[in-house]
């Protein structure tokens, strides 16, 4: 497998122009409940904090902050772009789908209908050492939305 299949253009673009990046100054909408989760990958020191605001069962706002490799940063960016406006159930659905693809060692293909730009991370599944990089913000979002919806 070539390096370009891992580092697809979408990933390189998102790692530079990070959607939803920056926690500071993001006021949750009035009446929304919020959750926040910090995740750390001790192997490489990558860390991501994701904040989610839920209102009427929908993701009203998602923002994040973090430092890490291009895979982890692009993954957080794509996630925040996808998640906004989804229902909590829909967000859980795409997180589950993403996790299934990433943990499949390349056996499960990503469905762009469900995952949108996140389907570009399909190649990461073939690099066991990088799966955590792609998952870290999704794990944080799952934790944060659970807190907010609790």
């Amino acid at each position: 497998m070539s390096l370009d299949q891992l580092y697809q253009q979408i990933i390189l673009d998102h790692s530079k122009a990070r959607h939803g990046s920056g926690l500071a100054g993001t006021e949750a909408p009035l009446g929304a409940s919020t959750g926040q989760s910090h995740q750390l990958n001790p192997v490489c020191g990558d860390e991501v904090t994701v904040r989610v605001a839920v209102e009427d069962g929908k993701v009203a706002q998602i923002s994040w902050d973090g430092a890490g490799c291009s895979i982890s940063m692009a993954s957080a960016s794509v996630l925040s772009e996808l998640a906004e406006g989804l229902s909590v159930a829909e967000l859980h659905g795409i997180i589950d789908s993403f996790r299934e693809v990433l943990r499949s060692r390349g056996k499960v293909h990503a469905d762009p209908e469900i995952l949108g730009d996140a389907a570009a991370f399909e190649g990461v599944a073939r690099y066991a050492a990088r799966v955590k990089c792609a998952m870290i913000s999704w794990v944080a979002a799952e934790d944060a939305v659970n807190q907010a919806a609790a």
Partner: protein
């Protein structure tokens, strides 16, 4: 013409290593012959773990095929043979570092060796409190008001055991700082060390910076304070001639897997009188004299610290590795790797957006270089190099406090050994030169 043999002419008489010799050496290492991602493997991660020559692999295999038995027990032929090769291996390692036989203790690795020292000191503290042991043992006890001194450049293995010893005993942990070029601030060290310093622990050569620390100066400071001096020799024992008696350290530790041997075996050197005074760390079979229902008396070192059935085949293989290095000549290996290290740093410094940690080109360093690529995370650098068949280490290299001190979280490290050519370094540099454009920086 009269030939006068001075040290200088003797040095010239030993031919330096070159690429041709390295390529012959490489033939002894089966794993290095393979291709990775369609490219000839360039292995530059020996600082993490080294590869094994056939003589080491065969030594371990031969032990299992011909001599396998538990050592120091049983009167049968195999048990005697196994004990002989096991103890011969100990003598080989003792000779390798200039130690005496009984001062050479087998461990699983350097991490275990350092934990052994810190827990034995804890036990000395507990024994003293309960009136067990003699006056010498009481001198080793660590308590509130005492100091343990390490440096800012330590590997976690030579840091966390001391943090935990400080926690258990109420002692204070202090750090000798580094300067921006990666050298220890000896002036500050002199201020920090006092008569309350019980332990001074530091690395011989930094696994991140490549710096070789001035051991004798540090030992002198430690002696003046009356501290135990502990040397982490993980990045020195495999790469340069090590003489623990000449350095006059109290303890030294290193791992076999970083010096051509298998995993699971390492060495702890300790001065005989200290080892025989210290309480044991692990207790159980093979390390006792008399055991009653109530208590046990312990053997002197080395058995004192070798509870349970030992890592016999690994010890035999480690001796084969030490012999391989001795036959090649560690002074020659050291000079060759220093040359590779300089080539790395000079090449890296010439590239835009690269920051090399530690000594600049032209300054002494071992054969490794850790660096930051501006705008590209180390994991991405490592992935890119792997696609070219080049194996390097990425991350914090088990030195988070050092990285924090340098304002970084992760770096990329290339580390050479006696089986690396200048072509390997050039292939690495050529690949690094392409990193930033690939990631559109």
């Amino acid at each position: 013409m009269a030939l006068v043999s001075t040290p200088a002419t003797l040095e010239r008489a030993v031919p330096a290593m070159d690429n041709a010799e390295v390529l012959r050496i490489r033939n002894d290492f089966p794993v290095l012959g393979q291709h990775v991602n369609g490219q000839q493997l360039v292995y530059l991660d020996s600082g993490a773990t080294s590869q094994n020559p056939l003589s080491v692999i065969e030594a371990e295999q031969e032990f299992y095929e011909q001599r396998n038995a538990a050592v120091h027990r049983g009167a049968h032929h195999l048990a005697v043979e196994a004990t002989e090769v096991f103890e011969d291996a100990r003598q080989t390692l003792a000779d390798f570092i200039g130690a005496d036989y009984a001062e050479t203790v087998w461990t699983s690795n350097a991490t275990e060796g350092l934990n052994l020292i810190s827990y034995a000191l804890s036990n000395a503290t507990l024994w003293s409190a309960q009136g067990r042991g003699d006056a010498r043992l009481r001198e080793l006890a660590v308590g509130p008001g005492d100091q343990i001194v390490v440096t800012e450049m330590e590997h976690h293995a030579n840091l966390i055991p001391w943090q935990e010893l400080a926690f258990r005993t109420g002692a204070t942990l202090r750090y000798i700082p580094i300067d921006d070029a990666g050298s220890l601030r000896l002036d500050v060290a002199a201020e920090i060390l006092s008569s309350r310093t019980k332990v001074l622990a530091f690395t011989h050569a930094s696994n991140v910076l490549g710096t070789i620390n001035p051991v004798k100066e540090l030992v002198a400071l430690g002696r003046k304070a009356g501290a135990l001096v502990v040397l982490d020799a993980c990045q020195s024992a495999p790469h340069l001639p090590l003489d623990v008696k000449d350095l006059d350290v109290d303890f030294a530790v290193f791992s076999g897997h970083k010096m051509l041997a298998p995993t699971g075996i390492g060495v702890l050197y300790g001065k005989q009188d200290i080892l025989d005074t210290l309480p044991p760390f692990l207790t159980g079979g093979s390390m006792i004299t008399t055991v009653t229902m109530e208590r046990a008396e312990y053997l002197p070192a080395p058995q004192r610290f070798e509870a349970g059935t030992q890592r016999i085949s690994q010890a035999v293989a480690l001796a084969a590795a030490a012999n391989y290095l001795t036959e090649t000549g560690l002074d020659r290996v050291h000079r060759w790797e220093a040359e590779l290290g300089q080539r790395m740093v000079a090449g890296l410094e010439a590239l835009p957006g690269i920051r090399v940690l530690g000594p600049a080109a032209g300054q002494e360093r071992i054969g490794l270089a850790a660096f930051d690529v501006e705008g590209v995370h180390a994991h991405d650098v490592g992935q890119f190099l792997d696609s070219r068949g080049i194996a390097v280490r990425v991350g914090h290299h088990c030195a988070q406090p050092l990285h924090r001190r340098l304002g970084l979280t992760a770096t990329t490290r290339a580390s050479a050994y006696l089986y690396n050519t200048t072509d390997d370094v050039d292939a690495f540099l050529d690949a690094v030169a392409g990193v930033r454009s690939y990631f559109r920086v």
